[in-house]
Amino acid sequence: MPCERKPMRYGHSEGHTEVCFDDTGRFIVTCGNDGDVRIWESLDDDDPKFITVGEKAYSLALKNGKLVTASSNNTVQIHTFPDGDPDGILTRFTTNATHVTFNSIGSRVAAGSSDFMVKVVEVSDSSQQKTLRGHEAPVLSVTFDPKDDFLASASCDGSVVVWNIEEQTQVISWPLLQKSNDVTNAKSLCRLAWQPGMGKFLAVPVETKVHLYERGSWDHVSTLSDDLLTQPINVVSWSPCGRFLAAGSVGGLLTVWDVNSKLCVERQKHEKGFTVCSLAWHPSGSQIAYTDTEGCLGLLDGLGTSTQVAAKKPAKDYDDLFDDDDDRLMDEGLSDTKSPAKKAVGWDDDDDDFLVPATGRVKNRGAFLDDENSLDTGSLKLGQDKFGDNNDDAGSSVAPAAPPVAPLRPVYEGPMPTPPQKAFQPGSSPAHLTHRFMMWNFVGIVRGYNDEQDNAIDVEFHDTAVHHAMHLTNSLGHTMADLSQEGVLLACPSTEELASKLQCLHFSSWDTNKEWMVDLPKGEDARALCLGQGWAAVATSTLMIRLFSIGGVQRELFSLPGPVVCMAGHGEQLLVVYHRATGFDGEQALGVQLLQFSRKKRQLISGEPLPLSQKSYLSWLGFTAEGTPCYVDSNGMVRMLNRSLGNTWTPVCNTRETCKSKSDHYWVVGVHENPQQLRCIPCKGSRYPPTLPRPAVAILPFKLPLCQTTTEKGQMEEQFWRSVLFHNHYSFLSSSGYEIDEDAQNLSQKEQQELLMKMFALSCKLEREFRCVELAEMMTQNVVTLAIRYASRSRRMALAQRLSEIALEKSNQMQEEEQEEPEYSSTRRTSSGQPRVTNILDNMMSSKKSAQLSSSGGKPSKSPVLKPLAPKPKTKVPCAESVFKQGSISRCLCAFRPKTGFQLWLEENRKSILADNPDLEETDVIKEAMGRFRTLSTEERLLSNQLKLFIFKNDFRSTDLNKTDK
């Protein structure tokens, strides 16, 4: 039902205004704060006639050539219309009247006043008054029952009361409204309206909804509402036909409902959003005049309401046919809706009750419409009257506008599919915001502004050494961005004329062209993008991922199994999350792929399901600064890839646990493994931070959700496993050819061993020897010897015995490894022929470590080789020997400690080692050390077990070294 909203025009000075049409609909009559009643021939009437009624006019009513106004001198007076001659005073109050209204035939006037009273006065004889007392606050509005039996009034005391006029008693009272002390303070004017004709319904605006009460039973039969209505409704008004109800709200929203179907058929917004304080239907039902609290007058024209009945006669026959069909279907449908599965469809119980009695009359209505058709009257009024008479029927019968198909839908009670979440850029706020973050990652911030004045993009770097801040005008309308140390990648969706574009500002380029742009093929839209080191990736609407080099060369492309959700890049890794399937009952079914574009391109995770918390969606995806994939779901759970456990995802933090209130969230911007930091922005009452004031980054600690973390045992276990998890990246990095910070790695290993030792001591104290052995199995060989000493000192010889077995096992293992190592490494080296380009990611290491590493190039470490050595293919024996030598040197710090274990407990094994080990010098040293150590340890054994503390607090390695020195 499209209608035209005419521009607002000045009507009165600022303040409350009211509007009505005269009986013929020729004039619009308004009154306002300036005390004038203006009579407009049309909205464009520049010289309206006016009648001054007082200093201020609060309300007016017009019927049968009589104009009744409530003015500031506490009177309700009559003027003739349209001449405007004073025609006496109807009634007086002790203070001003707030609302006046005529009854349907114009014989009586009801007026509500701020002195809590409602008066009903005969127009012909003002001495015949009836006073309705009972309100406890100023009366907001009054309305007559069209049959003149009742009167309804609303008051600031919060009640809506129906009065019996003759008996001057309250029939019913509903406490519906918010209380206030005066009309000016009331949230809503609460203009009631009784359905014209039979007066079946009384419409009461309650907050943002309109309640309909049935005449007689006074039951609340239904509610009209609209999602767009967020502010209280001020005024409601029935169309002359009684089928439509118009409402004007505080925020300036005008809504028209079809009462039969309860559907909103028209929505209009006040052009300036001022509060609508009065509205009136044209007698033909095709226009609505309304006024606002700023004194302006507006008009909605072309409302196809009652005109449907009168004006579209030729089409009527067909309409009726369909109506009948629909109604009959409805009958059948109703029996369906009576089934227990009612809830599945959008009809509530009220509707059903409402519709059931109507079904019997459907035919009547059809007949009535036919009658009207055959009458073919040109008179609108007649049609209206007739319609009005049959209003009871019409009002309750099913209108063509109703969606009668709804209850017919087969009822499905199973799990409902979840709408798949839209593609997004991790670290961006939603695209509909005018000021938003397009990207916030550990390189910098990209902000997008899109308001009337400006459409621009600001790029800012956390580290100004990377690049200076940039400001671009966003003429292409980019909506997606990513930022790396090398460039900024932007993309815009396609428009009608222009293709979806990918723009890269490659600021790290050493030539003069710092920018390139690529058009995606027609019909292909960029959905997600990311930057890695030296490459860029775009996921498009055609389920494809296109790779580009950072300089703009097109590289590989591949298809995704489903629509992309988001992507993240780091170094040579690309992480893609996509919709694997349809999720049900609030769950998303996401899949994840992890690809590596290094020399040996491969897929590390090939489309496995991405675990999310229940009923949550993905909210952030990325890599830690060290390169471990990581993501956050909408429940605030942060999960990280555990590469050492077959690429499973481990929850490492729940950001919601630290939130103070339920609506607070943390917006994750980065994850660091060393030091363990979750960088995020606390958002009060929202999921996203505003761009201004500039949000500050907070740091959250990680915590694995292990059991009983309040106990000492639980705490240590949590620390241990967290330490293990967060140091997985060392082995990954070294295996993929990056240089690593060895010191940090050693430190972390030391930390883990220390924790194990502490747990061991704790278990010892609790007499859990089996547990001790379990822990010892996780220890390195050196620490096992310490554990043995600890056990023997605390007189647990059985435990010490078992531990020594473990120590033996471990040393054997180590020797095997040592011997295998040369072959392994040599084959490895031959296979990896060409020298590797060392790739240093900025965050991964400090410069001094790399210098140290390169200086001690030949020194092998546990991890596979970083620097390629010259392959020596044929001289296998010397090669093995040399490598072994190196290996033994590398272990010179730790090698003797396992042997102290042997010498203490198993003499024979040393012999075998001696036999195996041709390097006599070293073993001699070790032998000596062992002897000394044995004497020392026996001495120590005599000491009390106060040494426990000593063991915990000291660096294991250094204590051992000291002892051997003695």
């Binding site: 550990f442 910098g444 770097f461 956390h462 580290d463 100004t464 050494a465 960088r679 004031p693 500039r694 500050a696 980054v697 907070a698 740091i699 400090s846």
Partner: protein
Amino acid sequence: MVSFVTARPAPQAAGTVCSAVPVGRKFLNTHTKKQTDMDPSEVEFLAEKEMVKIIPNFSLDKVFLIGGDLGPFNPGLPIDVPVWLALNLKQRQKCRIIPPEWMDVEKLEEMRDLERKEDMFTPVPSPYYMELTKLLLNHASDNIPKADEIRTLVKDIWDTRIAKLRLSADSFISQQEAYAKLDNLTLMEINTIRAFLLDTLNCMYKLRSNVQ
């Protein structure tokens, strides 16, 4: 790369006057005219030791200073540094300063109202609130939302407190009390009134003893 100032610039007077000690000493020998009270710049110097949060836009490992270790500095990550360093970095556009929590219009308004309502001195948000406001607003007003309002509010609080201080000094003298207890006074406030008050008391003592 960022090069740090190795020596922190001290106010001119700080070289000759030991800034922390004289507070006590001055009470003893106020009659010696030479020993004036602390200069506002000296108080400001002390205030510069307060910590403030900044967001650096450079990356630097830990720096080891006599006063303690600072850092490591990670771009984009808030860190606590002394005010003198924050201002120095700010002047070189190496950081953004995050104003202290109390430097907020609402909180200050509350504080001002309380200060006006109470007869006694109310606790101040920071022992150096005046100095910090002045320093931060002069050098980093672009990082502080509603800087002008904050300036006015802090000035209001200051004025109220100084007025109270004058009133209490007045009643102290007129009632010829031997001592007065003043809580919650900041160093800056004490120093604004000390010279004048002590000199006055000395003068009055002389005059009175001459009369007798």
